[in-house]
């Protein structure tokens, strides 16, 4: 059997997400993210006027784009796709010079620098994936709104959800081919 590369994706259900921020804190502790920084965050988008309102709540993070501007922008190759995946973007801290070209290139403002000088961001909890565990944000979500898996596997929960439900990605017009999908 030919081994295909993984296409890791996160599917986040805006219909059940309550924006509590458990994903933010679980990520902070799991990944020991430095004080004042965060790899994921909550956006509440309200439209309409009282009392005809709509609200979408999203847990946002690096979109692990299939066409990632940060990877293209990185002059040293520090930002790269993880081996065996089509799209899992990682930063090799030893190669990163802290030039911030990736931060300028990212349309999602998903990156930040750590006190040591290199850039950092969501890794989809790459270290957990290696142990066949789900990302921390997904396992903590009290609303069970965050799904994670391989889109190249048609049987995965994420593939099934995207076949069944209406979804969107953020800023599709910039051509990044984002892999965080929002069920709407």
């Amino acid at each position: 059997m030919k081994l295909t590369k993984k296409k890791y994706a996160m599917v986040i259900d805006t219909k059940t997400c309550v924006g509590c921020g458990a994903c933010v804190v679980a990520c902070k502790t799991e990944n020991e993210v430095p004080e004042g920084r965060h790899r994921d965050w909550i956006v509440e988008e309200v439209s309409g006027t009282f009392p005809n309102l709509q609200m979408e709540i999203r847990s946002e993070r690096c979109n692990h784009c299939s066409n990632a501007p940060c990877v293209h922008a990185c002059p040293t190759g520090a930002s790269h796709y993880k081996k065996g995946t089509e799209n899992l973007v990682l930063v090799d801290e030893n190669k990163c010079t802290g030039c911030k070209a990736c931060m300028a290139a990212c349309p999602y403002e998903a990156r930040f620098t750590v006190p040591e000088g290199y850039t950092s961001k969501c890794t989809f909890c790459s270290h957990r994936i290696e142990k066949k565990e789900q990302p921390a944000c997904s396992t903590v979500c009290p609303a069970q709104a965050i799904y994670f898996g391989d889109l190249n596997n048609p049987m995965s929960a994420v593939s099934r959800l995207l076949r069944k439900r209406k979804f969107k990605t953020l800023l599709p017009e910039v051509g990044t081919k984002a892999n965080v999908y929002y069920l709407v």
């Binding site: 059940t16 309550v18 993210v33 965060h38 439209s47 309409g48 290696e130 609303a143």
Partner: protein, 736 residues
Amino acid sequence: MAKEFSRREFIKIAGAGVGTLALGAGIGKVVYDALGNDAAADVITKTPTYCEMCTYQCAGWAYLKNGKPWKLVGNDIDEHSYGRFCTKGSAGFGVYNDSDRLKTPLIRKEERGKQVFKEATWDEAFEYIAKKLEHIKKTYGPESVALFSHGSGGKWFKQLLKAYGTSSFAAPSYANCRGPREEGYINTFGEPIDSPERTDMRNSRCVVLIGSHLGENTHSQQVNEFTTAIRNGATVIVADPRYSTAAGKAKHWLPIKPGTDIALLLAWIHVIINEELYDRDYVDRYTSGFEKLKAAVKNNTPEWAYPITSIKAEVIRETAREMAKNAPATILHPGRHNVWYGDDTQRVRAGAIINALLGSWGRKGGFFMPERAEVPAYPGPKPPKPKKSFKDTPTGKKFDLANLAISSGVCDATVHGVRNDHGTFYEGWFIYGSNLIKALPQREKTIKALRDLELVVVVDILPTEITGWADVVLPDTTYLERYDDLRQSPGRTPQIALRSPVLPPRYDSKPAWWIAKNLGEKMGLGKYFPWKDIEEYLEYRLKKAGSSLSEMKKLGVKNMERKDPLYISKGEDYKFPTDSKKIELYSDLLKDYGFDPVPVYTRHEEPPEGFYRLLYGRSPSHSFARTINNPILAQVNPENTVWVNAGIAKDWGLKNGEYVKLENQDGVISGKIKVKVTERIRPDCVYMVHGFGSEQKKLKRAYNKGADDQALMTRVKVDPIMGGQAIHGNFVTFKV
């Protein structure tokens, strides 16, 4: 119809890092596994605990990496959390790491409230307290000591004070929070809702929320089940003056005029009865007083309710039909914090009556029948019987139906000016984990009482507003540094959960059980703590329940067998624990006490021109004042905002993000608070998250952040049934 995007609101909730820390090795840990690759050298351990970030007590695991705090994760079989900790639970190491913690016992040096203390040894502190308690016992009797308590550790001080000879145990969580809910259900079904709630939401086809803002209130089980219902396509109906997170998930959002909920509930009852939407078999079999109820709500038509509530008659009808269509898998959620307008027990009861008409109590998707794990107590001598109790105070006598001591009543019975009128009064207070200055409205009353006491002992983790008023401050450990008694909360599965120490206590803090036992020994009450230490105590109880400490250290949570079915089966000859053995749609008991046997709508005071009703609630990142200083959560949500309707903001020229002060109807002015201009709230009210605006300088992250809603609550309406202190009757205007 084209959507109008009049404004878009974005909120980014940023996370925060775990602060730096230095610690010793852990104790009693189970070595878990080592991470692969580059982290191969890391030693990961996990220890079972149950959370104390709020009082919901979700069980989980505390992970250390190389002996240092790493993360907290829910236990998969725990029915409080389903293995998913909330924002606060995930940030539990923050309180452990908080450098503002109380570090040693303190004894007051100058007058109360001045916060001038000298550091003391535990022995000195115990000596001081024991002497005072001896004096109080001799002079006034042991019954004149009261305990205010919130949280698991309070149990040990109850044990201590029972042994001393008093039974006056108050908790602000009763008369200042969920008391009306429990009494409303007790007076209808004969049983309380309790915590965690007996709501079968995960199986509900229709969930109705009245002012309850699940999602912003993040009790994990509740959020989990509410969103499970949504995922399964349940209809959500939310009545709330604010477009809450839950309202954002609702099919029907009813932006009800504040203070008119009973009118809506009565109109729903009217429709359900008059359109014959109720469960006839259930009502015939299990309820009493149906005809009297029908007669009582005869005139409460949706047309009657419309001008009161601002909810259109057809919306009231449509939502009532929606509830009935999904019954019995419909739940009108009982809420939690319920002290709003003073007729709160009656409002909750109106909801309980709807649940009864729909046949949802004891039915799948409605309310299940909870069971508690039976674990025998550790044997010990019987405590002395108090000669008098809270029931003998003026407040206690007035609220005969109240099932717990009322905090403000304890205050009233403490103030010396009125002592001579009292059959009893208080001379000593123990305050465990309960910041009374923030938790009770009308703080001047609390302070007056505090000034008149012979002894004030505060046991807490952080220096809060109340620790400033203590004679003796005792530094408690965080829940991550101690054992506590077993968790035996009621639920679908009777479960026991263990809290065991993850790390040794920091500073000179001691676990609550140790403090109570050692103080007890100093007071000559050692025989009431007949165990060597808590491990011996727990081992005894666990062995009796068919487990052991070592088993529980591996499991964290253990499931026990249920005795009875989860639901009342159709046609079952079920007896309810009420006087009539039936669900009391019409309450003779309430009638006998002079209260309305069926809830009645009364009009509440409206804000004067230029004023707005002050509503308050929860942030998902905080458990009120107790987490504001948490190094992790303080960065996720550092301050509160005041929500102002966009039209009102325009009238006042208020801009989003600008700071204002609020002034209430009695001239009390708040600290500075950021304006949130929003379409998500009615124009007749404003809203803020409770717990901010700390005046305690020793809390470096919380001090002066945001505004304190409690200080603005100078008006209180008292629930005549159970003494609840309702605080939605305060109005504020802007000091620009």
